[in-house]
Symmetry: C3
Subunit: 156 residues, 3 copies
């Protein structure tokens, strides 16, 4: 049975260090045995933003998908930190929240874009990744990012 | 003391089968004794969408209210599935989240529109339906729907 | 060790009575030992709204910050009510949700605006105020308010 990090490696992905928060808050909190992350941006290497603007205008559906996937990789890095470094302690990913910056008139493909988050969670966690989700669309997001992703997970 | 389904019947409402998710996620998850649904659309008969567009433009306040009510009926169907088929196991509806697709300049009546969700929860669950809520407005929503509704409930 | 209310007093702030909900829902709910508020508006004295419109258009960044701070003061009043009148029972503020009404093209400063919420939580609760947060932006909000703030807290 592959671990979460082995599955990520099979996808060619390595967990980054968990990004710090961009303002006066924490990247994650644990209550009881549930961890909640803050909104995660599609940062890479802790310093660059590969995607900027609104999905459906500056950002294509494919790049929106990739941005959601990257932000979710950062969310998984936060879950790892919250789990004391061991993602095998994640019993269940409970919820993914995606706030998507979309251009006026863009609507039909938002579930497909947010699958960038869901597909990664499902691939990395398997049965333990069976999550609920909620989409919000936003006219603008911090740092002109196309998405913000939050993950909730139950720890074992 | 009427059951939740009896109260719905008094309103002329029958619970639909719980709609499947429209993408790679689950319609509900339980953590401890709390159930969280995914965002529910105003589907009817699992296949049609009676309302399309933005509230305040294509969709009237009255139809926005009806769309929130219908999406909430689907959310109640999810709660029933999560409760193993018995809504009497719902001890308390904890939170309603409503993401409303509104036209530019439409703002004053959003609480009234989301009462389509709250009024149904209150009517169906009585004291057990006393919920918190949060409104988000969105410039666009998946499938051009006017609303997405999430419900959280504590199970007994 | 100063209490939360003493710290607020040092900031020149007094907790208002917890505002009632503006529609058919409750201002807070407790599940297990976690309290969730409903979306809080920047009300003052239970009857006036000092800020109206979109941040980046009618509302400056500074006033957006002040509106988030005021709505958060109301959220703290709800936490106090939920804690039976004793804010010292708040073990941890878990999450702040901010839905910000922003003008088209306004994006870069949203984290700074929502620091109006985070800075107050941090100042009032100290280590117990270390919270996660999620930003949503909205094209319109109820009553033309620039922000809605939700707080989650763990009670001791």
């Amino acid at each position: 049975m592959a671990t979460v990090e082995q599955r990520l490696a099979e996808l060619g992905l390595t967990l980054p260090p968990p990004p710090g928060a961009v303002a006066a808050y924490e990247p994650w909190a644990v209550v009881g045995n549930v961890v909640f992350t803050s909104g995660q941006l599609p940062w890479r290497d802790g310093k660059t933003l590969d995607y900027a603007g609104s999905i459906g205008r500056e950002v294509t559906v494919e790049d929106g998908y990739a941005a959601c996937r990257l932000a979710t990789l950062n969310a998984i890095a936060q879950l790892k930190a919250a789990a004391g470094g061991d993602l095998e302690r994640v019993r269940r990913v409970v919820r993914i929240e995606g706030s998507l910056n979309v251009a006026p008139g863009f609507a039909a493909a938002t579930p497909k874009v947010l699958n960038g988050a869901s597909d990664l969670i499902n691939a990395a966690f398997g049965e333990r990744g069976r999550h609920t989700r909620m989409i919000y669309t936003s006219p603008e997001l911090p740092l002109d990012t196309p998405c913000l992703i939050v993950a909730w997970a139950e720890l074992g």
